[in-house]
């Protein structure tokens, strides 16, 4: 029986060992090596040089800055808009299922399609947004070519792309709150805002912290959105850490340095994850 058990587990376990465990080990070892696919110089161990280089690399820090900026905008954006949508859907008497499905639909698209679509919206000369702005007597905006606009534009697209999922998760949590809480509060003459503040929000807190943690983990790994819309520009202001790792490893072929930066990204995500979970655990 046990031998059969191992036979059943074997295919997955072998695949897991080769494509999950081995890469993690290889990546860790590589991060202490010089391993350039182009250079004639032989590969070798360099100790903490890659990590030291990253910490002194202005491009790395500007990538960290872009990543943090993106996460700082997208997480509250998804939470506030997602919660508003969830509250709106929750109050619907009819048609909730259809609205729920439609709101989620953009999340089904892949980033290439999403990016092509929004690039057309954002284009300075032929774009739909500027066409609409000019049509109504306004002025066209440099949505993707100006440093001040580029990141908010990327965030706007990302909210459209993913807010449906957040809204559905929050809606489900809203529907789990027993109706008698509100009935009791209504008997005591509580206003709607007070009920929201003292019943809905506290009871939603675990789910909201789930949303904050998962969306910020995803936000820290932002790659496709900027890759499609701006390629990281203007002046690298929207190039996140993930894109810098990609370019270091696969355009400059510096595998060791890329591996080291991916461990730094992992560390950044872990620190923020732990910090957020701590914050959320504190009583309201």
């Amino acid at each position: 029986m046990q031998r059969t058990g191992f036979l059943f587990l074997a295919p997955y376990a072998v695949s897991f060992a080769i494509f999950v465990i081995l890469p993690i080990v290889v990546s860790f070892v590589l991060s202490f090596m010089r391993f350039d696919l182009t250079a004639q110089s032989s590969a070798g161990f360099v100790g903490f040089d890659n990590y030291r280089e990253a910490l002194q690399d202005n491009y790395f820090w500007s990538a960290v800055k872009a990543t943090l900026l993106f996460a700082l905008m997208i997480v509250p954006g998804l939470l506030v808009i997602g919660l508003s949508m969830a509250l709106g859907m929750n109050a619907m008497a009819r048609g909730q299922a259809a609205v729920r499905a439609l709101v989620f639909l953009p999340g089904m698209l892949n980033i290439a399609v999403t990016g092509i679509l929004w690039q057309w919206f954002f284009n300075g000369e032929f774009g739909l947004f500027n066409f609409a702005l000019k049509h109504f007597g306004g002025q066209g905006q440099p949505w993707l070519s100006d440093k001040a606009f580029a990141m908010p534009s990327i965030v706007l697209m990302s909210v459209w792309w993913t807010v449906g999922g957040t809204a559905i998760i929050l809606l489900t949590a809203l529907q789990q709150i027993p109706g008698m809480y509100f009935e009791a509060a209504a008997l005591d003459g509580a206003s709607t805002t007070r009920m929201f503040r003292y019943i809905t929000l506290p009871l939603l807190k675990p789910v909201m912290s789930f949303v904050v943690v998962t969306t910020s983990i995803a936000g820290f790994q932002m790659f496709g959105q900027a890759f499609m819309l701006t390629r990281g520009g203007p002046e690298l202001s929207t190039r996140g850490v993930a894109q810098y790792i990609y370019e270091t490893a696969f355009n400059s072929y510096r595998m060791g340095y890329g591996a080291a930066m991916s461990w730094l990204l992992f560390a950044l995500i872990s620190v923020f994850g732990i910090f957020q979970i701590r914050m959320m655990r504190r009583p309201a």
Binding site: P11, F19, M92, V99, A101, G115
Partner: protein, 275 residues
């Protein structure tokens, strides 16, 4: 009365929100059917001249943007990944939860732990491993590593854990072998979980962007998302064409969504409840 008025307004408003969310998709569809001159001057949302020339042009490309080839690559790779993930994950979850192999719990813990590691960390080492295997630029580079994903085995383990042990005991008394038990009992009972897993795996694989971008080299081996993304760089102002490629690329997903909408939305809804 006040309250019901408010409810009506809310209902109308939320329908508008839903319409606004899918408006970009309609604009994409309508614009892809406009001649290029109309695309650049979008005074009318609905095309004045309807044309399929964008689509004809795309499907006619052979060399620089083999759209049909990308499409079939995507269909093949996503189907193979889905099949592989289901077979490996179901067998693994069966071994851990139903046959209770020693160390199974710890192994599951390790799998869940590995899911915390961001995807970027795997790019560089996977590239080197795949190059050693001579799998770069072949479908295997996108199919085989995907079977190691943790989500499927985790989800099916959760599902199998909730099945009563009496089921097995009865099967054993009847003289079933573990393989018979797996094929005739566990798999049918897990059908709902497996179909959800299949839908999610297929969508995830279809939409994967970074994998094909890094591991595929020749244009004819690209998957659809990467193909149209890189193609878009060279033709980026010909929106009629790029939007038509997008319409073709999302159509299979919209069909899947229409068929499995209930399942997809309710799994999404459940993902926050675990916490």
């Amino acid at each position: 009365m006040n309250r019901s008025v408010w409810k009506t307004i809310n209902g109308i408003f939320m329908r508008c929100v839903a319409a606004l969310m899918i408006l970009p998709l309609f604009l994409m569809l309508l614009t892809s059917m406009k001649p290029e001159a109309e695309v650049l001057n979008p005074e009318n949302v609905v095309p004045r001249v309807w044309t399929l020339s964008n689509y004809q042009q795309i499907l006619g490309w052979a060399e620089e943007a083999p759209f049909g080839r990308w499409f079939s690559n995507s269909v093949f790779i996503s189907s193979a990944v889905t099949l592989g993930v289901i077979v490996f994950s179901a067998m693994g979850a069966f071994a851990i939860k139903r046959l209770r192999v020693p160390g199974g719990r710890q192994f599951l813990g390790l799998i869940i732990g590995s899911m915390m590691v961001p995807g970027q960390l795997f790019l560089v080492p996977l590239y080197l491993i795949l190059s050693k295997l001579h799998w770069l630029d072949t479908p295997a580079a996108l199919i085989v590593p995907a079977t190691a994903g943790g989500f499927g085995i985790y989800m099916l383990s959760q599902f199998m854990e909730d099945m009563p042990p009496a089921i097995e005991e009865a099967a054993l008394i009847d003289g079933c072998s573990p393989a018979q038990m797996f094929l005739h009992q566990t798999l049918p009972l897990c059908a709902p979980a497996i179909s959800t897993l299949a839908v999610f795996t297929f969508i995830g694989s279809w939409n994967d962007f970074m994998g094909p971008l890094v591991f595929m080299d020749s244009v004819r081996n690209y998957t659809l998302p990467v193909g149209i993304a890189l193609y878009q760089t060279s033709y980026y102002t010909e929106y009629g064409l790029t939007l038509a490629t997008s319409v073709l690329a999302v159509t299979p997903l919209l069909v899947i969504f229409a068929l499995f909408q209930r399942q997809i939305v309710s799994s999404m809804a459940a993902s926050g409840l675990k916490d």
